[in-house]
Each structure stands twice: as structure tokens, then as C-alpha cells.
Amino acid sequence: MALGRFLLKRSLQGLLVVWGVITVVFLLRFVTPGSPIDAVAPLDATQETRRAIAAELGLDQPLHMQYLTYLFDLIQGDMGFSYVRGVDVVGLVFLKVPATVELAVAATVVAIVLSIPLGVISATRRNQPIDYGATIFSLGGISTPNFWLGIMMILVLAVQFDIFHTSGRGVTSFNVATSILGPEPFFGTLIDWLSYITLPALSLGTYFMALITRLTRSGMLDQLGRSYIRAARAKGLPETLVRYKHALRNTLVPVVTVLGLQLGTLIGGAVITEAVFSWPGLGTLVIQSINLRDWPALQGSLIVIGTSFVIVNIAVDVIYAYLDPRVAYD
């Protein structure tokens, strides 16, 4: 039951961090110039009206009471009300989550599928043309702003050749699944989906592709020089097995660590990629909320982003322990 205890312990730690995130987000409102009342009150509101609004919003309460109310509401799944948009924040935020998750997962999959083989090939053919190519690609990839890369893709693949859609989401992956798995399999939806998601996923995934290629290459070079690899070869294991089962598995440990640390970059990158491709996700919501001065929606989005970050980090720790049994679940 080591895994169970580990999960419990990490979840409790994660809960503590989430609580911190919520506290910081709550306090953000108090370092903001302007009163939340201004967002609600009409311009010509009298003192009476303003006081009534303050009471309605609970702003006449002392700070610790406001904080407790905020926490209590959150536990009940109430993130407040967006006065600017006239809707509940919870519905607003969770409506946007699937789009961002879809984009982030697509980018990660593209990045991992292409980068690990590239890194392995680059390491096993050291100082050959393909290695130089991979090195230059990965150096460029970690040095290119992803929003600019997205614009360049739009310029070349969409403006010049008109192959891909450059804005919006089109169909969801859920639509794709239902149309393929339905009674009459239809693949048109899949192609439609691809025409929307390819450019955003590539532009978001390139940085990670480059980063993982770099890490895989240096990790493989390190592992392939070790004595257990010589031993594996000496006992006559096929080279493929030596490379992919032994060396690669040990290489993946630091790769997973860095990926875990870089998840924030992925989510941050998703925000700006969404802005470039008008992808209707959390990032777009964050930016719109700032421009509309919709603080409750901003707070709700930040809490969801922070919490999902904590959850994914726990998942990374589990994968980490699976890859490297020496890392006890502790």
C-alpha cells in the first residue's frame, strides 16, 4: 500500500498549497487600485446605494470574516458572481477548461512523440548530420517565442497556402470521438478537428519538443557510456533492447522531473497560444477578464489553474516513482 499512502501524503501537501493559492488570490483583490464596489455601482450612485452594495457583497465585514466566507463559498463550489458578465463564475470557468486541457494535452503528445525518438537518434548518431540538425533545432526551439512561431505558421501555412484554420476551435475532441465510435464511423470530423488544433498544438508544443530532445540527447549520452550498458551488450542483448529498454528508461527519469517543473510554462504558453489562435480556453478568459476588470472571473480562473497545476504535479511524482523504483513513495 505504499502507493496509497504516498498519494494520501502528497494530496494533503497539495491541499496545503491549494489553500495558499486561494489565500493569495483572495488577497490580490486588496492590492488592486479601485474598490470592487465601483465595478457594480452605477456612476451616479449615492453613498446610500454604495453602502447597500457593500453590505450585499459582504464588504462591510472585517477582513477575516470576508476571507472565511470566501473559503466557505469555495468549498461549496461557489466562486462568486461575475457582475460584468452577469453569470456565475463557476460555470464560466469550467466551460473553458476542456478547451485548454485539449490544447495542452495535444501539445504535450506532439512534443513527446517527436522529441524522444529524435533525442535517442541524435545521441546514438553523435556528431553525424542528423545530430547537428537536432541540436540546432532544439536550440532554436527553446529560444523561439511560441506566439511568434504561431504567427509564422499562420503566415506560411494559412495565409499563403490556406491549409489550416487559424482561429477558433471548430469541433471538440468529444465530437470527434462520438463521430468515429458512433454506429456509422465518420472521419470527416477528425479531419476538421485536426485542421483547427494542428497549428496551436505545434506552436505550443515546439518549445517542449526542443527541451525534451535536448534532455533526452544528453541523458542518453550519459547512460550509454555507463558500465551496465556494456554489460548488457556483452551478454548479447540486441542493440534496440539495450537502447530503448535500458538506457532510455534511465534517461526518462530526469526528463520527467524537468517536465514536471516546466508544466507552468506549458500552461503559461497555452494562455498566449490561445490569444494568437483565438482558442476559447482559460487563457482567453484570463486576458478578457483583466481587460473587462472582471475580478471574480480572474480569481476563479487563477484558482482553477493553480489547483490543476498541483494535481498534475502529483501525477508527475507518481510517474517518477514508477520509472525509478529507487525513489520510494515517501
Binding site: 517565442p145 506566439f147 499562420i154 493553480g306
Partner: protein, 337 residues
């Protein structure tokens, strides 16, 4: 801190690696251009000339199709005209949608990027190293509290946190007089340089955690060294030990991380100014966003500032790789947006 051995390693790695040479060259160009921007730029980067907008860069032409109608003998005749706009050496990188010289804007953009990168990193180093060294040296309750707050800070993606903070605090900017122009050494260039103050503070605040983690790790091991124990035994104060003994011995990994963080912060700054969250309009990211509306007719407005970012960031990353390989501080120095 800078021992002869360090210098020797740096030199040896530099001689061996073509990438290190490239990095130093690129970084030098960017720094030079940023410092001497008023001399390098051929035009004032903010001067508009609507008669000469969207002029293509050298080697390219732009085709303009215009339709006009004329009255000929009482009937309307529609005239389709195709005109070629040619590049001139006066604007080697072309002009933007308001006729401003792209080359000069790229030159001045280097200033913004580099200043935000360096000042932001300095702030992050100051906060992060102070917190990290204190936490690692003191251990105990203080360590727990400081590192848990670092965890919380890490739970917000830096770009999201930066956007949120700038959204809340506003886009304050400081106008700094340009010394070259004030001294009268060069004419016709902007007298003031706009420093995006909020952006610098924010990028520093969202990146301090990386330094705190590295500094803490170093302090944890250095505090067990004999020379620290000896200093403690003769009654040196904690502050003195941290300042005189722990910090100098933790300097190498902090230096390497700092170099790579400058590149990461330049990318972060370009993202922020692309989204319109910067206090200045003289920035690579801002120009990229301006060019988006003209992708079909004037591709260079978005393309060229982006290339400038790539060149600058590659240069600094290569410099970081060189320092890391030569000094081998044993850290994973990848930092991102």
C-alpha cells in the same frame, strides 16, 4: 569566486566550442546595439511617415492593387492599377504600418528587452538568493515557511501570474533620459527612453523561486563545510557567515542560472508586450502584435522583430550553456516563460 581554475576552464571550453563563440558574438552584438541604440539606428524609431508605410525590406517588393473610378465622357470607368513598392537602402528592414523604420525599432527594442531581462533578473536574484540562503542556512521552521511559499509561487505559471499582477497594478512606466541624446552626442533621437517599471518588478517577482531553490540547495551543503563551522566557532554572526562564506561559494550556480534566466525573462517580456501588458510601445513583442493585422500585405512587420528575439535569446542561451559546461555547477538550468 573567480579562481584561476575557473578562468582556465572557461577559456578551454570557449576554445573547444564553436557554439560558445557564436553565443558570445551574438550576445555582444545585442548588448552593443542596446547601449549605442541612438548611434546605430538610422532613424527615430517613433517618427511616423504615412506616405511611406509598409515599405518592404531589402530584396523584396510589395504589390499594391488600387481601384479608382474616373468619369470619362459622362460614363464611369473603373481603373485597376497595380503598383510595385520597392525596397530602399534607407529602410533596410522596411517600414511598419505607420511608416516607422523597422531597423531602428528593432535596435531600440533590444534596449527594452535587455534592460527588462537584466533588471528583472537582478531583482529575482536579490529576492531569491536572500530567501534561499537564509532558508538553507537557518533550516527549521523558517526554511519550511519560506519553501512552502516558494511552492505556492511555483503553482502559478509565471506568465499567468505576471498578467494577473500587471492587470491589477496597471502598466506603470518610467521615462529615463537617454544619456547620449542629453549629452548632445546625437541628434533627432528620442530624448527619453521608456522603462516598463511594472513589467520589471513583475518578471522579477515571478522568477525569484528558481534562484531560491538553487541558493537553498547550495546553502544546505555549504553550511556543513569545515570553514563554516570554524567561522561559527570563532563567533562570526550568521549574517557575516552567509555574506562572506556561503554566498561566494554558492555564486557559480547562481551565475549560470542568472544567465539562462535573462533569456527566459526576455521571452516573458516579449509575451507580455505582445499581449499589450507592457508600459512601452518600443518593444519586439509589441511590434509583432502590431504586424498581425498586416500578415497578408506586409509580413515583415511581425517577422523581423521575432527574428531579433530568436537571435538575442539564442545568444544568451549559448552563453549560459558555455558557463554551465565550463563551470559544471550541477544544476538543470532550463527556465521557461
Amino acid at each position: 569566486m573567480v579562481s584561476p581554475r575557473v578562468i582556465r576552464n572557461l577559456k578551454r571550453e570557449f576554445r573547444r566550442s564553436a557554439l560558445a563563440k557564436t553565443g558570445l558574438l551574438l550576445a555582444f552584438i545585442v548588448v552593443f546595439v542596446a547601449i549605442f541604440a541612438p548611434f546605430v539606428a538610422p532613424h527615430n524609431p517613433t517618427t511616423q511617415n504615412l506616405d511611406n508605410s509598409r515599405q518592404p525590406p531589402l530584396g523584396f517588393t510589395r504589390t499594391v492593387e488600387s481601384t479608382s473610378s474616373e468619369l470619362v465622357n459622362g460614363s464611369v470607368v473603373i481603373v485597376n492599377e497595380t503598383k510595385q513598392v520597392n525596397a530602399t537602402t534607407e529602410h533596410p528592414f522596411g517600414t511598419d504600418s505607420l511608416g516607422r523604420d523597422m531597423f531602428s525599432r528593432v535596435v531600440y527594442g533590444a534596449r527594452t528587452s535587455l534592460l527588462v531581462g537584466i533588471l528583472g533578473t537582478l531583482l529575482a536574484v536579490t529576492v531569491g538568493v536572500t530567501v534561499g540562503l537564509t532558508a538553507g542556512y537557518k533550516r527549521g521552521r523558517l526554511d519550511d515557511i519560506l519553501m512552502r511559499s516558494a511552492d505556492i509561487s511555483l503553482s502559478f505559471p509565471s506568465l499567468v501570474l505576471a498578467i494577473a499582477l500587471i492587470g491589477l497594478w496597471g502598466r506603470a512606466a518610467v521615462e529615463v533620459p537617454d544619456p547620449w541624446v542629453v549629452l548632445g552626442l546625437v541628434d533627432g533621437m528620442p530624448r527619453e527612453f521608456v522603462l516598463p517599471g511594472t513589467v520589471i518588478v513583475v518578471v522579477g517577482l515571478v522568477n525569484w523561486v528558481w534562484f531560491a531553490r538553487v541558493a537553498r540547495g547550495e546553502a544546505l551543503s555549504i553550511r556543513e563545510e569545515e570553514y563554516v563551522k570554524a567561522a561559527r566557532a570563532i563567533g562570526a554572526s550568521d549574517l557575516r557567515i552567509i555574506w562572506r562564506h556561503v554566498l561566494p561559494n554558492a555564486a557559480t550556480p547562481i551565475l549560470v542560472l542568472g544567465t539562462i534566466q535573462i533569456a527566459a525573462i526576455i521571452l516573458l517580456e516579449s509575451s507580455l508586450s505582445f499581449l499589450g501588458f507592457s508600459g512601452t510601445t518600443l518593444s519586439w513583442g509589441f511590434d509583432i502584435s502590431q504586424g498581425r493585422d498586416y500578415l497578408a500585405s506586409a509580413w515583415w512587420i511581425s517577422t523581423i522583430p521575432g527574428l531579433a528575439i530568436v537571435v538575442a535569446v539564442i545568444g544568451i542561451n549559448l552563453l549560459g550553456d558555455w558557463l554551465r559546461d565550463a563551470l559544471d555547477p550541477g544544476i538543470e538550468g532550463e527556465g521557461g516563460v
